[in-house]
């Protein structure tokens, strides 16, 4: 692959500059800048990612002409990460290997990253701007898998990086072997409160609901130190009791004594390098909008893959330039509608399951 190292270094350099420029100065990419960079990444991936090249070759329009804009770049379904090794490099050389959960569809997928530079820079910049606009140094209470225990968890890796960079040095991990360690969590939270240290509780919806259930059973509530915040991620269906997001946030705010606006949803997936967060201006609104960093864009499409206008519900396709070493365009089953440059996420349903004779049997459940 002559030219690969040079091309890679040049692309990574440009992407890292973009990330740092946004992190430090808030510089966004103009449409033509994003477009040019996206098409460059696409051409690079077409050259060096064999399964992606094969896939694109089966799509008739791509056979004839290369896309002229980022919106026309063919996305792979997120499930493709289960079916092929989607890399521009030899996956044996991967610096980071993350696995999708794969709990409901049987097999897990793998996202290989050639270096950790893009991932680290993307996640830190994204978290910093979305969660730490006030520059707070917090104590991190992570209700996500510890990467020392589950190195394949991208969420765990992310929170380890965030805690190490932005934390007060007393990070706690409260998920072990899939179990939420509620007692340790409550003990340490009490300690932080006694010291008056503001905290960031980060967790999956599943972990947070579990903690809420424990606190509810013990009739316990907190008023966390000023500046504390909560970052939640993941859907509410499938693994936990059924709860609307509205009620979920109400419960979190009431139980931990934090303003509702201090509860922020992160939206990411193992198949992406970068993350979306609730836009600050929408955090007090009933309907929150999500936005990503400048190198991450989304499009809401219909079942045939055509872009939909604002306010029309479809599924999300992501264009993450930081996915330089895999595939930048990833199609999901997540329902959303576009709202300006952002989108409103409507659903991340659990995978399809056998329904038996009753088509929405959850309605029968005595909640």
């Amino acid at each position: 692959m002559s030219g690969y190292p040079e091309e890679t270094t040049a692309l990574d350099g440009e992407l890292l500059r973009t990330m740092r420029s946004w992190r430090d100065g808030g510089h966004a990419l103009h449409e033509d800048e994003f477009n040019e960079l996206a098409l460059r990444v696409f051409r690079y991936q077409l050259r060096y990612n064999e399964p992606y090249r094969q896939y694109c070759a089966t799509l008739s329009e791509t056979n004839r002409t290369l896309p002229s804009n980022w919106q026309s770049i063919p996305p792979v379904p997120a499930s493709a990460f289960k079916d092929a090794i989607l890399t521009t490099f030899d996956s044996a050389r991967a610096a980071l290997v993350f696995e999708t959960s794969g709990t409901t569809r049987g097999r897990s997928g793998t996202h290989y990253m050639e270096t950790n530079a893009l991932y680290d820079e993307a996640l830190l910049a994204g978290f910093n701007r979305a969660m730490l606009a006030d520059g707070a140094v917090l104590r991190y209470f992570n209700l996500v898998p510890n990467p020392l225990e589950r190195p394949g968890s991208s969420l765990g890796y992310m929170m380890a990086k965030v805690s190490a960079r932005y934390g007060d040095g007393n990070t706690g991990w409260y998920v072990r072997a899939e179990d939420v360690r509620a007692t340790e969590f409550l003990r340490d939270l009490g300690g932080a409160m006694a010291q008056g240290v503001a905290v960031c509780i980060s967790g999956t919806a599943f972990g947070l609901v579990h903690i809420l259930d424990v606190l509810g059973a013990r009739k316990m509530r907190f008023v966390l130190p000023a500046g504390s915040r909560i970052m939640e991620t993941g859907g509410l269906k499938g693994r936990t009791r059924v709860l609307s997001r509205e009620n979920f946030y109400e419960e979190l705010a009431r139980t931990f004594g934090v303003p509702r606006e201090s509860i922020v949803a992160e939206y990411g997936m193992t198949e992406l390098t970068s993350q979306y967060y609730d836009e600050p201006a929408s955090r007090a609104a009933a309907q929150r909008t999500k936005a990503g960093p400048p190198w991450l864009r989304s499009m809401v499409v219909d079942a045939a893959g055509n872009a939909l206008p604002e306010n029309i519900v479809g599924t999300l396709v992501h264009f993450d330039l930081a996915n330089r070493g895999s595939v930048m365009a990833v199609a999901t089953e997540d329902l959303a509608y576009a709202s300006g440059e952002s989108f409103v996420l409507l659903g991340r349903d659990a995978d399809a399951s056998l329904r038996g004779c009753s088509l929405d049997a959850e309605d029968l459940l005595p909640i």
Binding site: L354, S358, L359
Partner: protein, 410 residues
């Protein structure tokens, strides 16, 4: 002096069966006004197209004739008369199949009419029957027709709306509760019941098909098998426990055998006969995703995919066996296997408990594998979605759950 309210205990079982048969006969007429109304309502509720709903009603009411009901009851309890009085039973004391009491049938957006059949058998047993359904227009309307046949039904059969959470605590006072739902939902309902209430749950089940190597070698019968399998797939949007969820072909992996494109062609024909209904966005997204995933695999040299421009169906040949079937509307995984044991192993791996197995021929090892996988109906292609009126749904007796045997030993 006030007259006593007439209930089903005061009339003969034969009369009950005849009333049900007569009412079903009226409902079998597509122009019968209550049916016309119910057809629209059910189509709106389920999103199924009108031809699918009409088909479901025909399948439900046409076979509901007195002879069928009598035979299925007699095959379980010896004689219809046992529901009225003591009957002589060889080698046993005289017995009377007395009504078990109050029966509640709970369903929420069930596949069409699935809650009605147990209700009718419970009525044959002279039970007091309450059907609780979130938004069903069918059961209540049919009960209305029954009441026109005999006023006793008006006092013994009622349909109520069900609002799940709030109603869950109101299940006391029933002798039997029948529920349809996921295993988790059934477990939750069972947990609310008093210990002496009998619970009959119909949980999540799937159906599969198996085409043997011998059948694949017989070109003259393959078209019929493909046509039947296509119908089994598309009816009711692949949502019911009798829908074809996965198809096994006894053939080696590699290029798809000619049967697979033939099946795709027949699915397109079946789509014309039973047009797709109103898919919600999440279903559309799932079907599109199933197709994109299959297309991606095919592009990397694994398997093959058949679909149409509208993405109304997806047929995937040779998907990874580590992945469960798609369980999406009109989506089918076609899996090559060497023998029925391999098919059974796939079903076990994905925790798919069978309701029915369609088989291309009567071959003992295939039928055994089907029954070992939980299957309670072993049938031909094209028949999966047409269970006989007396068939044992979930392997349960039809009337046995609604009677209490009284043995007379003196």
């Amino acid at each position: 002096m006030r007259s006593r309210r007439k209930d089903l205990r005061q009339i003969r079982a034969k009369r009950i069966v005849d009333c049900i048969s007569d009412a079903a006969h009226r409902w079998a007429n597509a122009d019968f006004t209550p049916r016309v109304r119910a057809t629209q309502a059910v189509a709106e509720r389920t999103g199924y197209s009108l031809p699918v709903v009409e088909y479901a009603f025909d399948q439900l009411f046409l076979p509901l004739i007195a002879e069928t009901l009598e035979n299925s009851i007699a095959s379980e309890i010896g004689s219809l008369s046992a529901l009225d009085d003591f009957i002589a039973r060889p080698g046993k004391p005289d017995g009377h199949a007395s009504p078990i009491g109050r029966v509640c049938i709970i369903s929420s957006r069930t596949t069409i009419g699935v809650g009605l059949l147990p209700a009718l058998y419970a009525l044959c047993a002279k039970c007091d029957v309450t059907v609780k359904d979130r938004q069903d227009a069918l059961v209540g309307a049919f009960f209305g027709t029954l009441a026109e046949e005999d006023e006793a039904f008006a006092h013994s059969a009622r349909a109520q709306s069900w609002d799940g959470a709030r109603n869950a605590s109101r299940l006391t006072g029933f002798d039997v509760v029948v529920a349809f739902g996921t295993n988790r939902a059934l477990q939750a309902i069972r947990g609310t019941l008093p210990a002496d209430t009998q619970f009959v749950g119909f949980g999540s089940r799937a159906s599969a098909g198996y085409v043997t190597a011998e059948s694949l070698a017989q070109a003259e019968t393959l078209e019929a098998i493909a046509a039947g399998a296509a119908r089994d797939l598309v009816l009711f949007e692949t949502e019911g426990c009798l829908s074809l969820h996965v198809l096994f072909l006894e053939v080696s992996a590699g290029l798809p055998p000619s049967f697979v494109p033939m099946l795709a062609r027949h699915i397109e024909l079946a789509n014309a006969e039973f047009p797709i209904g109103q898919r919600d966005r999440s279903e559309s997204a799932r079907v599109a995703s199933v197709r994109k995933t299959a297309e991606f695999r095919a592009s990397t040299g694994h398997g093959a995919v058949y679909s149409d421009a509208a993405c109304s169906y997806v047929l995937e040949w040779d998907p990874p066996t580590g992945e469960p079937p798609p369980l999406a509307p009109r989506c089918l995984a076609v899996i090559p296997v060497c023998n029925p044991q391999q098919a059974a192993s796939y079903l076990r791996q994905h925790h798919l408990r069978l309701e029915a197995l369609a088989c291309s021929q009567r071959r003992t090892d295939v039928l055994e594998a089907g029954s070992d996988a939980g299957g309670v109906r072993l049938t031909r292609f094209g028949e999966l979605q047409r269970p006989p009126a007396g068939a044992h749904h979930g392997g349960r007796p039809r009337i046995g759950d609604f009677i209490r045997w009284i043995d007379r030993e003196i």
